[in-house]
């Protein structure tokens, strides 16, 4: 396998990311996000498939009250993330097509990916945000809940990591 091109210096990239967040605060009055986009799309699917389920859940309803969930601010932002990340990876020669090449991750890791995603979906829904929307954006605004979430996240991560070492040799 061809070695991946080196990534950018993390502190400098972090400052750039902080400036993006700052621009977002200045332009929109709120921070970045990610998990909310998943919740919007899930609500859109549910209301299309089973409107009754959507009506009975205040969670889905909250994502359906401000117009179409398919063009919610966070959904469009996440589409931008896909475009920006794809462009960055392609220009840096870092795109790894694991779909076609033989560098595919093990089945176990994919399974863990789905399971981990599910847990994060539940966690982010309970906490009302994820690493971007709550920990980073809320952390920068010194929200107490954001800091509790961030500390709990890293605490659980460090505690569980030794138990799943096999996943990350």
């Amino acid at each position: 396998m061809r070695p991946l091109r080196q990534y950018a210096e993390p502190h400098a990239t972090g400052v750039c990311l902080g400036l993006v967040l700052l621009a977002c605060f200045a332009l929109t009055g709120q921070g970045l996000g990610a998990s909310g986009a998943f919740a919007s799309v899930a609500s859109g699917v549910v209301v299309a498939v089973s409107p009754e389920t959507a009506v009975h859940s205040a969670y889905f309803r909250s994502y359906l009250q401000d117009g179409s969930p398919w063009t919610a601010w966070l959904v469009v932002e996440i589409m931008g993330v896909l475009v920006g990340a794809a462009a960055s990876a392609a220009l840096a020669g870092r795109t790894r097509l694991t779909f076609v090449r033989a560098v595919r991750p093990s089945g176990g890791r994919l399974f863990a990916g789905v399971g981990g995603g599910m847990l994060m979906g539940v966690g982010a829904a309970l906490a009302r945000g994820c690493t971007s929307g709550l920990a980073l954006s809320g952390g920068a605004l010194l929200s107490v809940g954001a800091w509790i979430f961030m500390v709990a996240l890293f605490l659980a991560g460090f505690l569980v990591a030794p138990l799943v070492r096999r996943l990350w040799p």
Binding site: P10, T13, G14, V15, L17, G18, L19, L21, A26, L27, T28, Q30, A37, F38, S43, V45, V46, A58, Y59, E77, I78, L82, V83, A86, S88, R94, R96, L97, R104, G117, M118, L119, M120, G121, G123, A124, A125, L126, R128, T131, A135, L136, G138, A140, L141, L142, S143, V144, G145, I148, F149, V151, A152, L153, A156, G157, F158, A161, R165, L167
Partner: protein, 179 residues
Amino acid sequence: MNDLLIAGGIGVAFGWALERAGLGDPPKLAGQFYLRDFTVLKVMLSAMLTAMLGVFWGGRLGMLDPGALYVPETYLLPQLVGGLVFGLGFVLSGLCPGTSCVALASGRIEGAATMLGLFAGVLLVGVAFPAIEPFYRSTPHGALTLQRLTGLPYGVVVALVTVVAVSMLAWIAKREAAR
């Protein structure tokens, strides 16, 4: 319409920065929890410091109004439990919601696996919501900030957080230099 153009533009820049930092790479993200790779903490702390100081000084210089920004509301127990569950998922998948999109966009199928799981997770909460709603709405504290909690002035809290975050970054740099 204008709003959505901003959303798309901010998203492109966000995705670009995450990919440049290497945060679409699951073994790299998981490496944080084994203290092998400190990229996650370095990027998060640097970004948080930049935005926090930018909001504070932007407010001082009259360029923006920190009071007008939306502060995520605090729900003590749901956010504590949510954070623990989230951290567990983070180690399992080596990605978070935003970076799962970056992973997929850089051609990693792990990104799609995690995104699939995320959909399932929020769907589960949505369907089970009538049962978990009391917990979801428990221990509300509104838009509670560290300065309101401690009674310290905004500038003092910003200074304290800066000192803690810079100390952590310095500790990481020292640890890496020693190896």
